[in-house]
């Protein structure tokens, strides 16, 4: 009897593959077909969101721990890069890597405090992280530039703006590809299986011998590293850093919204979410200007996703495809149903209450 894990080509996977190739082709061609530099810069912003929410999804997707504080990690990556270039005299991209490593190192003590206990503390620490980094980077003006901001020199001086956009578009695209690749590698590894076990039932995973704290910490550090890279690359592209916008709760919440909307269990969920939310944000701004109503829209969308679609759009699409693909899937369901009928005594209510 075929099992799901052994069926290599399913309509779902085929559709995913086609979509991936199509996305890659469009993305690679985008700088050439974007009608003006503004739209190219919008593309970079959306890619930046995609990298950020994919990085977020290392923690959120694998372990189920929701971090609202990843905005701070991106901000640290950005400021780290900026400060290493301006104060440390490092070359731009050297500074980027060093800064991301520093962010990863900093994630160790943060994770130690946040991950030893269960979810609520993690969420509290993640929000506190944003608020405390904002305070520190505003207050420590002599080092960080304070509220006046920090100017990060361009890595390619003299390059015209449209060309500059083009280069960074590909840099962000490359970073996205690396982040997705690492996520995929973890997803199919034994480490990833342990992480998913934590997401499903942490006590149970621990009782089976999985060192859950160590697993969570490692993946948090990996997530911080990629988030730091995304933040640092943004700093090199954008050039002007201001604590209020670098250490913003809203950045973190966009990452969550994008990942959840796309689907946290899916490799491409955050990317899809970033495309939808990022493009929508820009579109609404251009069409309707900006009022605080965009906050309302963000909040309402987040609430709707949490209440009605906690698995995101990709799984919804996936189940649609599966319904079209009855032949293989139903064979398993029939057996399951038969077994269910045979075993349906006692404990059923228990099972229902657990799953309900």
């Amino acid at each position: 009897m075929p099992s799901v894990s052994e069926r290599l080509v399913t309509p779902g996977r085929a559709a995913g593959g086609v979509a991936l190739v199509a996305f890659a082709a469009v993305a690679l061609a985008y700088p050439s077909i974007a009608p003006n530099p503004y739209l190219l810069s919008v593309g970079i912003v959306v890619l930046n969101y995609a990298v950020l929410s994919t990085s977020w999804n290392f923690v959120g997707g694998f372990t189920g721990y929701i971090s609202l504080g990843h905005g701070a990690l991106a901000g640290l990556g950005a400021y780290g890069t900026g400060l290493l270039v301006t104060k440390g005299g490092l070359p731009s991209f050297g500074a980027l890597v060093v800064a991301a490593l520093l962010v990863a190192a900093l994630a160790v003590p943060i994770g130690y405090a946040a991950l030893r206990v269960r979810g609520a503390s993690f969420v509290i620490v993640s929000i506190a992280l944003v608020l405390v980094t904002l305070l520190v980077f505003q207050s420590w003006a002599s080092f960080t530039g304070g509220s006046r901001g920090l100017n990060v020199p361009r890595p390619f001086p003299g390059m015209l703006r449209p060309e500059h956009h083009r280069v960074f578009f590909y840099l962000f695209l490359a970073l996205l590809a690396v982040a997705l690749l690492v996520w995929w590698l973890i997803d199919r590894s034994r480490f990833g299986l342990g992480l998913k076990a934590i997401r499903e039932d942490e006590d149970k995973a621990e009782a089976l011998g999985t060192p859950t704290f160590a697993y969570k910490l490692v993946v948090f550090v990996v997530s911080a590293f990629f988030t730091g890279l995304a933040g640092g690359l943004y700093a090199l592209w954008f050039g002007d850093l201001d604590p209020i916008f670098q250490f913003s709760i809203l950045t973190g919440s966009y990452m969550v919204l994008m990942a959840l909307l796309g689907g946290v269990r899916n490799l491409f969920g955050p990317l899809v979410g970033a495309l939808v939310v990022g493009v929508a944000l820009e579109y609404f701004k251009v069409e309707f200007g900006n009022t605080p109503l965009h906050l309302v829209a963000t909040g309402v969308l987040l609430a709707l996703v949490v209440l009605f679609m906690p698995d995101g759009v990709l799984p919804a699409l996936g189940s649609l495809l599966r319904r079209l693909d009855r032949t293989t899937d139903s064979s398993i369901r029939e057996v399951t149903a038969a077994e269910l009928a045979a075993q349906r005594i006692g404990g059923e209510q228990h099972a229902q209450s657990r799953n309900g």
Binding site: S147, R148, D240, P292
Partner: protein, 408 residues
């Protein structure tokens, strides 16, 4: 160029005069391109929401007044002025995207500056890299002029650190017994606000006046009780607040709650606001503030501005409005003199013209150094008898400085 093709119907009435003016202004310059029938689109990004939305809206009104007054007189080069305003949410990310959109996507002819120094630098960089002239109404801090921008001009009489120059001169000239000996400073960590206070601090310290409190607070501070406690217990002769609006009000109320009575109190921005007196319960007596603009200023264009602005908006203009209007005047002068307004080579000509010339504005004649820094100082106003009046410099004063100030 025929009348039939130049104007949209709604502006038809203004056509005759416009055409005449435009021809006059252009003189013997190169013949006008086909673009004459289009309006001159001026792109602006402003904080209409977020931290700076209040002054942002003031700046917006100033620009609107400038466009209306100019259009009523027939526009520039025979073309009407059309403003395209985007909201940047007081956010540097947005301000860059906005100018990117204005220049790259909307193809505006001219861009002018946003509000708040923090947003001016990122915005100016975009304009610089697209080679656009960038006259701005709100980038008063020193670092704006240290970025090496070649296209940027600040359309106001003085940069932040020069705002208190007249007051510093006055205080240092006082006889030894009267001169304040200790000063407490509290400044918002904002390039403009802190720049004003620290400009005065540098000059007073150089003159031997001791600093006893030196506090810097972030822009979102709302609780001033501990800063006020420090200032009050220091019993400084004089308190200087490098403030925007609300923080200044809060600090003054907190100081009054502690019953602190200095000989002199100077705050930037806040005391010149029309809501100021009510906000601190009318205990305004003796509070000083620098100002770059007053409705009573004798300059020629100012009368027209105050009159028409009041007719348009129902109340007279404040400093933010005047700065935006001034920005418009500078740009208009350049466009009129150079005879073009579009992206491309024209922008370089506009920049060169502004750099080389003096422009008459509602805040007086303005000229700039190499970095785009204006060459002037601010007037000092003081609340006397329930009204705010110019007290310094001596040649512009409406009344004498009251020193030491009465209890508030």
């Amino acid at each position: 160029m025929t009348i039939r093709t130049t104007k949209r119907t709604r502006w038809a009435t203004a056509v005759g005069a416009t055409l005449a003016l435009a021809l006059g202004a252009c003189g013997g310059d190169e013949p006008e391109q086909a673009s004459t029938d289009d309006p001159i689109v001026v792109g602006i990004s402003l904080p209409l929401t977020g931290d700076f939305s209040e002054p942002g809206k003031g700046v917006q009104r100033g620009y609107e007044a400038w466009a209306k007054i100019t259009n009523d007189k027939g526009g520039l080069l025979g073309r009407q002025i059309e403003l395209k305003v985007l909201d940047d949410q007081s956010n540097a990310d947005r301000v860059v995207a906005d100018y990117e959109q204005l220049i790259g996507s909307d193809q505006v002819d001219i861009v002018v500056g946003p509000f708040s120094t923090r947003l001016v630098v990122p915005a100016a960089r975009v304009a610089e890299e697209y080679g656009m002239l960038f006259v701005e109404p709100a980038g008063a801090a020193a670092e704006v002029f240290q970025q090496g921008f070649k296209n940027l001009f600040y359309a106001a009489p003085a940069v932040a650190s020069d705002h208190y120059n007249h007051l510093a001169e006055y205080l240092l000239a006082l006889p030894a017994g009267q001169k304040p000996t200790t000063v407490a400073y509290a400044a918002m960590d904002d390039p403009f606000a802190q720049g004003t206070a620290y400009g005065l601090k540098a000059k007073l310290e150089a003159g031997g006046v001791r600093t006893v409190v030196d506090e810097v607070y972030p822009p979102n501070t709302t609780d001033f009780s501990s800063i006020a406690a420090k200032i009050a217990t220091s019993k400084a002769d004089m308190v200087v607040g490098g403030s925007q609006y609300q923080d200044g009000v809060n600090l003054i109320v907190a100081l009054q709650q502690l019953n602190y009575q200095p000989k002199l109190a100077a705050f930037s921005t806040a005391p010149t606001s029309p809501e100021f007196a009510a906000a601190i319960g009318n205990k305004t007596e003796g509070i000083l503030s620098p100002t770059g603009y007053t409705q009573d200023a004798p300059y020629e264009s100012n009368k027209e501005f105050v009159e028409k602005y009041t007719a348009q908006f129902g109340s007279p203009p404040e400093e933010d409005e005047a700065n935006a209007y001034t920005t418009g005047q500078v740009v208009a002068a350049a466009i009129t003199a150079v005879g073009c307004a579009e992206q491309g080579d024209c922008q370089k000509k506009l920049v060169d013209w502004v750099r080389a010339n003096k422009v008459e504005t509602v805040v007086g004649p303005l000229s700039w150094d190499e970095t785009g820094k204006p060459q002037g100082a601010h007037m000092i106003q003081q609340w006397v008898g329930g009204e705010i009046k110019i007290v310094l410099p001596a040649d512009a004063k409406e009344t004498d400085v009251v020193y030491p100030k009465p209890a508030w």
